[in-house]
């Protein structure tokens, strides 16, 4: 503890390979603070598998209610009983299991954007291609060598030398949205994060050869090769976990991260983000991945509670984790620093299939959560569920480009105006208004 920590300040990426490599001695972590843009950061939470947004944010009244019920005879969200949808605005309701998110919506901290996706001629129903389009931020191309978040960090030019952890991939492997960024810390769980600390014998309070191993590893992993950089990153992560004592963290009261069920792993990963955000070590970007949404069969009847209802259980897990994460930061008075963007690679078809599930679709909602979000509103346009209103007679229409919402977060919250670098070939038509400042555009959910 208390060792000098080092951070390799690595500016290289596929776009501009600048020469810097090697290690740069940073300051002792207790005095190095990255003060930039109010310590703002984005959490990009990707729901992998094609989350069924139509059952997360569903029509509970109005002209779309009847087609919704007819097209989803088993799985439609009810409006009465134990599994009644939670009213949002206008004609829409939230899945019954998302009680925490509902409270955040009513408190004005959660915004929902209808019908996000990519240009119609670039829609893909392949999980892997669609995820690539989202992560790389280049719909139509899976060959881009960098992710949109990596390009944002590169273009923003605002990663101070003193930032210890500017980019955090909270999980076992970093997602492609950070592809190309060399200083991403990939960490799943700070406990027992060391290659040689368990020999059972301690000397001067240190497990035998724990320190010596790190000294040698740091010596071995010097240089600019990809492996050396990766090894350097691993050593720094170990050092930081140790010096920041990351394994020793108590969330704010009221932040109730689930410890069992399908949300437990995600909860640990989200908690790590809050943990690191509070250390004020320069966090600007964090990523989370939550899979298991590919509900082709037995998605869960609309009158079936979270037991034996796989979709509802996942919604419940997601809602609990996001609520805990928000409350954790709010409890420390820093909820305004965070904006969480939650999306999936596509939605699912409006009509349920014969297996009481749904197949791959396109248009889908996006959730935007944070202390400064203009929440409690539905944004964008819901395309409608009458036969003629569906895309290819199957999907909820895509009416807002995903990049429009992300661009608003990048410009307003993260202070980066260089959108051409973040989303090449995208013409940003201006903000929807999920964040304050500028004109806002409410959707027909507000009618």
């Amino acid at each position: 503890m208390g060792n000098i920590t080092r951070r390799a300040f690595l500016k290289g990426s596929t776009i501009c390979l600048s020469a810097l490599g090697g290690l740069r001695l940073g300051l002792n972590v207790d005095t190095a603070r990255a003060s930039w843009y109010g310590q703002h950061f984005i959490v990009y939470l990707f729901l992998r598998g094609g989350m069924d947004g139509l059952n997360f944010v569903a029509p509970i009244s109005g002209p779309d209610r009847d087609p919704y019920v007819q097209k989803r005879p088993t799985i439609y969200l009810r409006t009465t009983g134990d599994t009644a949808a939670l009213p949002l605005s206008g004609n829409f309701g939230l899945h019954f299991a998302a009680t925490g998110l509902h409270e955040l919506y009513q408190a004005g901290k959660l915004a929902i954007v209808h019908g996000i996706g990519f240009p119609l001629d670039l829609i893909s129903r392949s999980h892997f291609d669609a995820q690539d389009y989202c992560d790389l931020g280049t719909p139509g191309s899976t060959r881009t060598g960098s992710g949109w978040l990596a390009r944002h960090l590169e273009a923003s030019g605002q990663v101070p030398d003193s930032a210890q952890i500017p980019a955090l991939a909270s999980g076992a492997t970093p997602p492609d949205s950070l592809l190309g960024r060399r200083d991403t810390m990939t960490l799943d769980d700070p406990s027992s994060f060391h290659p040689n600390a368990n020999s059972g014998t301690s000397v001067d309070g240190q497990p035998l050869y724990k320190r010596s191993t790190m000294i040698t590893l740091n010596q071995l992993y010097q240089g600019t090769g990809a492996v050396e950089l990766a090894g350097t990153g691993a050593c720094e992560t170990v050092d930081l976990v140790d010096s920041l004592d990351l394994a020793n963290y108590t969330p704010s009261p009221g932040a109730n991260y689930p410890t069992s069920g399908v949300g437990a792993t995600l909860a640990n990963q989200a908690k790590l983000i809050a943990n690191i955000a509070k250390r004020e070590v320069g966090l600007q970007v964090a990523t989370l991945d939550y899979g298991g949404w590919d509900t082709h069969e037995n998605q869960g009847a609309g009158d079936q509670g979270t037991n034996n209802n796989q979709y509802a259980a996942r919604v419940d897990g997601l809602s609990q984790v996001l609520t805990a994460l928000y409350n954790d930061l709010a409890g420390s008075g820093i909820a305004e620093r965070m904006v969480v963007c939650v999306q999936s690679e596509f939605g699912r078809r409006v009509r349920e299939n014969d297996n009481h599930g749904t197949d791959h679709g396109s248009g889908n909602p996006m959730f935007v959560l944070g202390g400064s979000v203009v929440g409690g509103n539905l944004y964008g346009t819901f395309g409608g569920l009458q036969d003629g209103e569906l895309f290819q007679n199957e999907d909820v229409a895509t009416t807002t480009d995903t990049r429009r919402v992300l661009s608003e977060v990048v410009t307003k919250h993260l202070g980066n105006g260089d959108l051409a670098a973040v989303f090449p070939d995208y013409a940003y038509p201006g903000p929807l208004g999920v964040l304050p400042g500028g004109d806002s555009i409410f959707g027909n959910g507000f009618d």
């Binding site: 992998r48 892997f128 960098s146 076992a172 799943d188 035998l208 320190r211 492996v227 014969d354 297996n355």
Partner: protein, 610 residues
Amino acid sequence: MSAETLSGLGAARRAVLAGAISATQPSGTGTGSLSTSAVTPSFGAYVLSRLGFGPKWGSPNYSVQYFYTLGADDDARLTAFVDEQLNPTLDANGDVIDPDVDARLAIPQYQTLNKNFDQLWNDYEVNGALSGQPYIRDYPIREGERAVFVRAIYGRWQLVEQLADFWHNHFNVYGYDRYAAPTWTAWDREVIRRNMLGNFRTMLQKTFESPAMLYFLDNYINRAPSFNENYAREICELHTLGAINYLGPELQQNEVPLIPAGEDGAGWPVGYVDADVYEMARALTGWTFGNGQNGTAYDGHLTFITGWHDIGQKTVLGAFVPANTPPATEIATFLDRIAKHPGTGRHIALKLAQRFIGEDPPQALVDYAAHVFFQNVDAPDQLKQTLRALLLWNDGPGSFRDIASFGNKIKRPFEVVVSALRAVGLNYTFRRNIDDESPSSDRFMDRYRRTGERPFDWRAPNGFSDESGDWMGSTAFVHAWRTIDWTLDEGTGTGQTPLAPVLATTMQWSSDPHMHTPNGLANFWLVYITGWAPAANPTYWIGTDLHAKVRDFMCRNTDTLNMWPADVGIGTGESGNTQGIETNSSPNYWYNRLRGMVNVILFSPQFMVR
């Protein structure tokens, strides 16, 4: 868009990725090497780390020493070795025979491995109680996830083990899935391993017929008229043609260009579109397995439900089948067409090249292997011939034998741990733990699983990534290293038998304390683990950067400040030096330090790339 361009696109993505993570190409290392410090090894060491899981000192059939007995020059040795590894000894069922592995797996903790499908179904599905730790129903997968370590660490047929890893990922099924878990042994042995060097169409058929796959990709409830496209989509996108041959959502079948005359597959569509997926999904309606529901027998066998089937006419990839065609004929026609399409050959060849050669293999090599694949679509040894063609191709740079490729791939966590435990001569059989027995394979797996590559523990159908960039996060490195460290420390208490004979091996080399200098110990272990050295006896690794750093670890005392002299033997009996490397007490804790020194060799860039 021609078929060539299509497969080029897939390679191009990987080329960009490879470029993205390699900032410089210093001298002394291969083209596109991921490491600036790892030096190119001997040809034998290079081959062994690519065909299998690396050398094991003293092995009679998979060591650097053995490799150099196989011929007069490297080309002859490589050919002989590839042919040997491609032709493992088989029993009457077509299963690989390996006496050492078979003896290790013949312990009571392994009870599922010799059961056939019907026995597995009866013992672990029908009678598989959801009780105990683990559940009895899960015994096959619990044994399978440990047996794969045993095979990879001790097997002489290392190429077979690399191939098993490859094909399990190619036809990925989540091992803990409802119907995969109790039948896992049959999936591993009868579907994957028996067909890996055989015929691809046959392997595809076996995957289709298994309850593991039928359940995993939802086909067991695929029924007309609102068919479930999940399995059909993955057959096209992952198992056969691959996303590199997907032409996108706008084209209809009648808009797809055809393969020109004179090329493999002339007259067939160049690739697939969504409609092909939907037609395949319609053909797959009604194909389920006997799970005792919907009138089926409770036996796990492939079962067809007539009332669920779409009987209309269908076209997949240019193959037309009229209405009311017998369903078995119908699906056979389509699986034939897709398995034998040249695009499938290109996809499989590309993936194999990425596994064995590098992430940006030469196009000519991929084309050649794809052509061999296509020419042998009906041969019983099609996949063996394809792999042999790939491994022995010698018409340009970037071939398997081109040692300039050294360092262009990182070892994935499974490879890191297996190659490390081979190299240190592990002598322990991982197993399903019974009653808290010790040493604990459960504790091994608890550490190993945090790398993110627990065997068969990938929920998505695409399998674990084979791209180096996905395995260079700190989590993968640190947890693989931690697993190795645990293994080297296990069993080193008084009266115990170590799992890894680090001390015994050192003493076998020399029991004379005057030889146990930090320089000497580092030098010995570098040669022992890697199987080669940059200089001849007695210099070996001395003078290299790697040796100096490993040696310094051995010199560095627990206070990290004082250094034992590099040329002074440990425990020679002189004043102040009476503790030998087998001792473990204050102030030097030599035994711990020796194991720590072996650790850092295994954690080094030299060992992490291949």
